[in-house]
């Protein structure tokens, strides 16, 4: 693996002395050895020096700029959180549309400032609740949305011109988005006043998350269709959220997360330009989504490096002139994979530290995980504690009072530079496969992630990495975490609603809308208007996606273990 080798390369601290990185890591047994040696590899197996100091030739304007100034290393706003706090956006969804609607209202009443919809697996794959593929999955990891009626119920009593809504949906993103636009229309809210995000990042599905439906080429076409439609009709909507979160959750390092995500971003920009869209107009609507993992400073450096690389590439490589297109805006979620089933209350602490890293890194919105998520869907109380964690950071710690408070830290600046350099090394590797799509086809990303994840797991097993409460500081005590249970009759009721919808809808306009969609998909016009027409004619998610499956074919997983 060229990747693994690159990461193992021993790095000497370029600033400060004492960087005699003693290879190999050693775990400190509790109550025994207390002297920790320098040279601990961090989560990207990057070795650090004992300390960092000043280094000559540091160009403040070139590397950092002030907050709100190019290259935006220090943040995209000059006043950062003084102007407006980050959006507290808790990912939520389970069971039926009406059950999730109650959870949304609960969260809003406790001070949440944006909505974030989790869909169940059948919805993520474009299957209706009554499809055989949906067996056992209804409502389990999110809400089941099979029709415009479901979407309408999901936001019942929530004025869509007053909230911003993020929707984690990829393969069938354009269908779900169309349902949202149509639900807003039913509320009398014009598309132009809607704010929110669809994840719509199909590239990372092939790389890591694997809820893909179609092969890459038609998937990219659907994504660019939403860019184009959004520019014209829903100008305040983020039509993609380019996601490193899932890449990280699948086991990548922070450096890989950074590099793979930005490479995906460049690919979307290229594809939009190829369609003939003006990048100065559509790039500002691309947003990002990163993970907040355990290695505190590495995470902060990752966000800062991401902003700098994006700004440079947009300005210098793509030649963009609109400053908004150079500003990398991102959502953060604390790392689900760091939550432990053992001593779950420790997760509150982990989440607090991860959330702090995200805030110090200048995130625009944040989801904090609940302590019980390694066990099951979070309960209301656990979700509230997670939200309170953000509120404590916002209102009690004073951290948001100054923009980029860690700017100029010798260590953070060194780490930011280092991660940037390594990311460029990875960009070169991706280029050697002919770009992101070629690298996906050759299994480059998947192999790199699998290697990192296996290596990490081995280190945990050998106690070269300590996970508190899991492989050290353990205690045998029974777990007492209440588990959220869904209404057991929910699935039957959902299926009954769906069947009734199919029976009672106007079948002539339904048929007409689907054949129009097929024609659009087979040709090269923008698919969004036809999809919107189909969902308004009460075609279900499965029916609309089914037409697209027939036209585009389905993608099969690659063989990489």
């Amino acid at each position: 693996m060229p990747m693994a080798l690159a990461l193992e390369k021993k790095v000497k601290g370029s600033r400060g002395r004492g960087g005699t990185a003693a290879g190999g890591s050693q775990a400190v047994a509790p109550g025994m050895e207390t002297v920790r040696k320098a040279g601990y590899p961090n989560l990207s197996w990057l070795e650090t020096s004992q300390f960092y100091g000043p280094e000559g030739g540091f160009d403040y304007r070139e590397k950092l700029g002030s907050p709100g100034e190019y290259p935006f290393t220090r943040g995209i706003h000059s006043d950062m959180y003084l102007g407006r706090l980050w959006t507290m956006r808790q990912f939520a969804g389970f069971g039926s549309a009406s059950e999730t609607n109650s959870r949304f209202k609960y969260l809003l009443s406790h001070g949440e400032t944006g909505l974030s919809v989790a869909f169940d697996y059948p919805t993520l794959y474009g299957y209706d609740t009554d499809d055989p593929h949906s067996e056992g999955e209804y409502g389990k990891c999110g809400v089941a949305i099979s029709s415009l009626d479901d979407m309408t119920a999901l936001f019942s009593g929530i004025p869509l011109d007053r909230v911003s809504t993020s929707m984690t949906i990829n393969g069938p993103a354009s269908v779900i988005w169309a349902m949202y636009l149509a639900a807003a229309e039913r509320q009398g809210v014009p598309a132009a006043s809607l704010r929110g995000t669809i994840q719509n990042d199909v590239l990372k599905e092939y790389i890591a998350q694997k809820s893909f439906i179609f092969p890459p080429a038609p998937s990219m076409r659907l994504v660019v269709d939403t860019f184009e439609y959004g520019m014209k009709h829903v100008p305040n909507w983020n039509t993609v959220s380019i996601s490193g979160y899932h890449i990280r959750e699948a086991g990548s390092t922070a450096v890989q997360e950074l590099a793979f995500t930005l490479a995906d971003g460049f690919e979307y920009v290229r594809q939009g330009i190829e369609r003939g869209l003006d990048p100065n107009k559509f790039v500002p609507r691309l947003s990002f989504f990163f993970n907040a993992h355990n290695d505190f400073f590495e995470e902060i450096a990752k966000y800062r490096a991401a902003r700098r690389i994006w700004a440079r590439e947009m300005k210098e490589s793509f030649g963009l002139t609109n400053e908004k297109a150079m500003k990398l805006r991102f959502h953060t979620q604390t790392a689900g994979c760091t939550l432990t089933a053992e001593q779950p209350e420790n997760n509150v602490t982990r989440v607090a530290l991860q959330a702090m890293a995200a805030v110090l890194g200048g995130t625009q919105s944040l989801h904090t995980n609940s302590l019980d998520e390694a066990l099951a869907l979070p309960t209301e109380k656990a979700v509230r504690t997670a939200l309170r964690t953000q509120q404590i950071i916002a209102y009690e710690t004073g951290v948001p009072n100054v923009a980029d408070p860690l700017g100029g830290s010798y260590y953070v600046e060194w780490l930011t530079d280092e991660m940037e350099e390594r990311a460029y090394g990875i960009f070169d590797e991706i280029a050697s496969y002919g770009g992101v799509l070629g690298a996906i086809d050759r299994g480059y990303f998947q192999k790199a992630i699998t290697e990192s994840s296996y290596r990490y797991q081995r280190e945990v097993e050998k106690k070269e990495r300590i996970i508190v409460g899991v492989n050290e500081f353990t205690s045998e005590e029974p777990l007492e975490i209440p588990i959220l249970r869904m209404d057991p009759k929910g699935r039957e009721r959902q299926i009954a609603r769906l069947r009734k919808l199919r029976r009672t809808r106007d079948s002539a306009s339904f048929e007409k809308a689907l054949s129009r969609l097929r024609k659009a998909a087979e040709g090269d016009e923008n698919t969004m208007p036809a999809i919107l027409g189909a969902v308004k004619a009460n075609a279900t998610l499965g029916e609309v996606t089914g037409v697209l499956r027939e036209v585009f074919g389905e993608y099969r997983e690659q063989r990489i273990i």
Binding site: G434, R442, R556, R559
Partner: protein, 322 residues
């Protein structure tokens, strides 16, 4: 365990029995020869297709597409997918089914994954027994998939009536390795992933290589472009397979290949059977002791071999054989 009972069940169409007997052969358990006699008598009807090529060229996807084609014609299909065993641990991850999972629950398809394990001539023997078992089970078309271009692959491909060598654009080394290993056995070449840059020149390189051979004895291998995942070029591949099969059905054409396959198989059976019989004449402890002595250079390996063989074959002139 009486393996002949298994054989009878297989001939009646019992899939579980087939799976079991394949394991018996793979694990080189004792005494399955008689069962294989019965299997042999009940086999010989299936068409056997070999697919080989380097890792990542899209073999499994091609196998999947061809198998789907056979299913559309109403034929039952057996697939034997061989993956390398780790020489260090003896373990293997067999993942060819990932690309074929739609066929997993089709009652007209039987897929078996095999690790190459590392027996001597054992692998091709095991693969051939597996093909026969699937044949006796009633599979009308059997596809054998292997990785790479080594001697073992060549041996396994000897089982097939038709051998398809799969490659992809952009790797000159691959053409070289085909030249070194597979040139003599390939009946059809497929340049898969035809959408990637360089597919035409890879095809041209292959054609140039083929043109260097003067006499193809009636079948000159075609070079075809395809995209297995994009379902393009597959008709041509299937068509070439059909044409080759027609040509090959002439007994004159295939006698040579069949004869060399038969010779190899007989020797493989003798080698593995006799080795097993002789090895069982000494205990693990005795064998361990001999291994230690040879490793410490206190005994010649030939001498050790004679000692083992001598306890199984008293009175044989071992100095002549060993």
């Amino acid at each position: 365990m009486n393996y002949t009972t298994l054989a009878r069940s297989i001939i009646r169409g019992d899939r579980k029995a087939a799976a079991r007997l394949i394991s018996v052969v793979e694990d080189e358990e004792e005494g399955y020869g008689e069962a294989m006699d019965m299997i042999f008598s009940a086999s010989g009807r299936a068409g056997v297709l070999g697919i080989t090529g380097a890792p990542g060229v899209g073999k499994s996807t091609l196998v999947f597409e061809l198998a789907k084609g056979f299913r559309k014609e109403g034929k039952s299909v057996g697939i034997v997918a061989v993956d390398p065993t780790s020489p260090l641990t003896g373990g293997a991850i067999l993942g060819d089914r990932i690309r074929m999972s739609e066929l997993s629950s089709d009652p007209g398809v039987f897929i078996r994954s095999m690790g190459s394990r590392g027996g001597t001539g054992g692998l091709s023997l095991q693969a051939s027994a597996t093909v026969r078992i699937l044949d006796a089970l009633g599979c009308e078309e059997i596809i054998v998939e292997t990785v790479g271009a080594g001697q073992t692959q060549v041996d396994i491909m000897g089982l097939a009536d038709t051998v398809v060598v799969v490659t992809m654009p952009g790797s000159g080394d691959e053409v070289q390795s085909i030249k070194a290993g597979l040139l003599e056995i390939a009946d059809i070449y497929v340049v898969n992933k035809m959408d990637l840059p360089g597919s035409m020149s890879t095809a041209a390189d292959l054609r140039a290589m083929i043109d260097l051979v003067e006499d193809w004895k009636g079948w000159k291998p075609p070079v075809l472009l395809a995209s297995a995942s994009g379902a393009r070029g597959l008709e041509e591949v299937a068509g070439s397979i059909r044409r080759h099969r027609e040509w090959f059905s002439d007994p004159e054409a295939h006698m040579e290949r069949r004869a060399s396959q038969a010779r190899k198989e007989i020797y493989d059976i003798i080698a593995s059977g006799i080795l097993r019989a002789i090895s069982s004449a000494v205990t693990d402890e005795e064998m361990g002791e001999l291994v230690r002595l040879v490793a410490e250079r206190k005994m010649s390996p030939y001498d050790a071999a004679r000692k083992v063989a001598g306890s199984a074959l008293p009175g044989a002139d071992l100095y002549k054989a060993l």
